[in-house]
């Protein structure tokens, strides 16, 4: 060990980090003196592949950028295209979109709460939160046909209506979470161990959050009241008085620590329940699609020219899709900006002066999603080549057969 201490890496594959990213810390003893990060583990070339496809095909591709928050990408992409082509989405579809996006937020925040508990070594909380999360997945499955990949958004509308039966199921889900909420809040925000491990840990001041351009609960927990649902007129949000959730709403102050980030997300679960209920109560009647006929829709979109920006407040923060259409089959440009992309830099001030043992929970506190942040590229050589993957897969099957007998 040199006089300046040594470098300590967490990741890219590490039991304490569920995402493929390397967090590199310069440490002196147990104390972190400086931090840096390396991405580049899951770059898949999605934007590149998108510019070789038409806008309707991109919709399916964008859904696969992220497994957890897939509504946000399809919604942001659709909004960008609608913005260029001047497509008006029917009011009922806007409500269905909002409702599904909020179901997704509940699922994502509860999932994150479990991950955070796991990072703290509090596995009973992880098991409890994930058990609680099952109900929302049931509701999503009932509503969309799938637990995770929802395929609810189309350009100019929503793909499935809220039928009477589905509404009942959603209301049942809301009821379940209203009952579970107090316990969830009590465990995540009142537990002594969680308080001890998260209060005054991984602090991001308001100034730092603004400097590093943080978004979503990461920024709001530091007092930056930025929320696209408040500032843009879209979905059902424009008819509702959405207020960005900041931690002072819970305990009267803003500290910008890990605890505040938990508080923001827990409160947002409650906010989402209210939004879903409002959507159901205020749901207008009418069509759910601007155009039923896909070839007709496609020809209208492909004839459009110009630049469009589609934005949505995803569970982790603002998602932006920049699309440029030039009146051809495929877009000239498609750029995806996921929230983790903007939240990465905030790790550095959060980690400085903290203990090594707190690295996992601090890293997890921004709710990082590497598949969103990395998105894009195909690598040459052997690692990702299809042929090589097939060889390895066959080799493994053969080995398993030898080990287990030919079953």
């Amino acid at each position: 060990m040199s006089e300046e201490g040594f470098e300590f890496s967490v990741g890219p594959v590490h039991p304490a980090l569920k995402e493929p990213v390397r967090v590199k810390c310069k440490v002196e003893g147990e104390k972190v003196k400086d931090a840096d990060f390396e991405l580049s583990q899951v770059h898949r070339g999605i934007e590149w592949a998108g510019t070789k496809r038409n806008p309707v095909q991109i919709l399916y591709l964008s859904e696969r950028i992220c497994g957890i928050c897939n509504i946000c990408h399809t919604l942001a992409f659709s909004r960008a295209v609608e913005n260029i082509a001047g497509i008006e989405t029917p009011k009922r579809a806007e409500y269905i979109r909002t409702l599904t996006a909020e179901l997704e937020r509940i699922h994502s925040h509860i999932l994150w709460a479990g991950v955070a508990a796991n990072e703290l070594g509090f596995d009973s909380v992880m098991q409890y939160t994930w058990k609680t999360r099952e109900k929302i997945l049931d509701v999503i499955e009932h509503m969309t046909g799938n637990r995770i990949t929802k395929a609810m958004i189309t350009i100019g509308g929503a793909r499935r209506d809220v039928t009477k039966e589905r509404e009942e199921k959603i209301r049942e889900g809301i009821e379940y979470y209203r009952k579970a909420y107090d316990k969830l809040e009590n465990i995540l925000l009142q537990d002594k161990t969680i308080k001890a491990r998260t209060k005054e840990i991984g602090v991001l001041t308001e100034k730092e959050a603004l400097e590093t351009c943080a978004v979503g609960p990461t920024a709001r927990a530091s007092g930056v009241g930025k929320d696209v649902r408040k500032t843009e007129e879209y979905g059902a949000y424009q008819d509702l008085e959405i207020e960005p959730i900041t931690p002072d709403m819970y305990h009267g102050e803003v500290n910008g620590d890990v605890y505040d980030r938990i508080a923001c997300r827990v409160l947002e679960i409650k906010q989402s329940l209210d939004i879903i209920e409002d959507c159901l109560n205020m749901m207008p009647s009418g069509d759910i699609k601007y155009e039923e006929n896909i070839p007709k829709l496609l020809s209208e979109v492909q004839g459009a020219e110009g630049e469009g920006i589609g934005r949505h407040e995803a569970p982790r923060g603002e998602v932006i899709h920049h699309v440029k259409l030039v009146g051809e089959e495929t877009p000239e440009s498609w750029r995806v900006r996921a929230p983790t992309y903007n939240n990465l830099l905030s790790w550095i001030p959060m980690l400085k002066s903290e203990q090594i043992a707190d690295i996992p929970i601090i890293a997890a506190s921004i709710d990082p999603c590497m598949s969103c942040a990395n998105r894009a590229v195909v690598k040459d050589g052997t690692a990702l080549e299809k042929k090589r993957l097939r060889e390895l897969s066959r080799k493994k099957t053969k080995e398993l057969k030898e080990e287990l007998g030919d079953v």
Binding site: N83, K230, T231, H322, D380, E385
Partner: protein
Amino acid sequence: MKVDEIIEKFEDKDGLRNIEKRVRGRRVWLTVDRENFKDFVEEVYEIQEDAHFSVCAGTDLGESVELIYYFSLNFRERHGEIYLGIRVILPKDDLKIQTITGVVKGAQISEREIQEMLDVEVEGTPDVRRLFLDEDFPEETYPWRRDEKGPDKIAKDFHEGDENE
């Protein structure tokens, strides 16, 4: 602050080539000369000290590379946020742009990205290391480029071996 008031602030600035606005969604695009690009970014932060920098979108246009830096203003105002894009066109034989990290620290990620994805040299940027690309990703290949420096060759190789199926 309204869209027109924002536009007024930029109208008389040197280096402004074009203004495009879309009332729906309050979007504004300014096309500016590379030499004056940084002045425009500084003006954004004169208008609002804590303006939010979102991202830089880059596109290979064939003869040139287009960069659009997106900023968000009025982000605390209900239904009042203005989304501003500052567009710069760089000729392919001189892909250089000034860093804006002195004005907004958070631009670092985007600057590292356009360097590795488009081969744009960001003059004065504090970090020139790769970020999204793996260190063994081939040199001189830039994923967002559509010319000979682009990734098409790699993508083609990705499917080799399918013929034997």
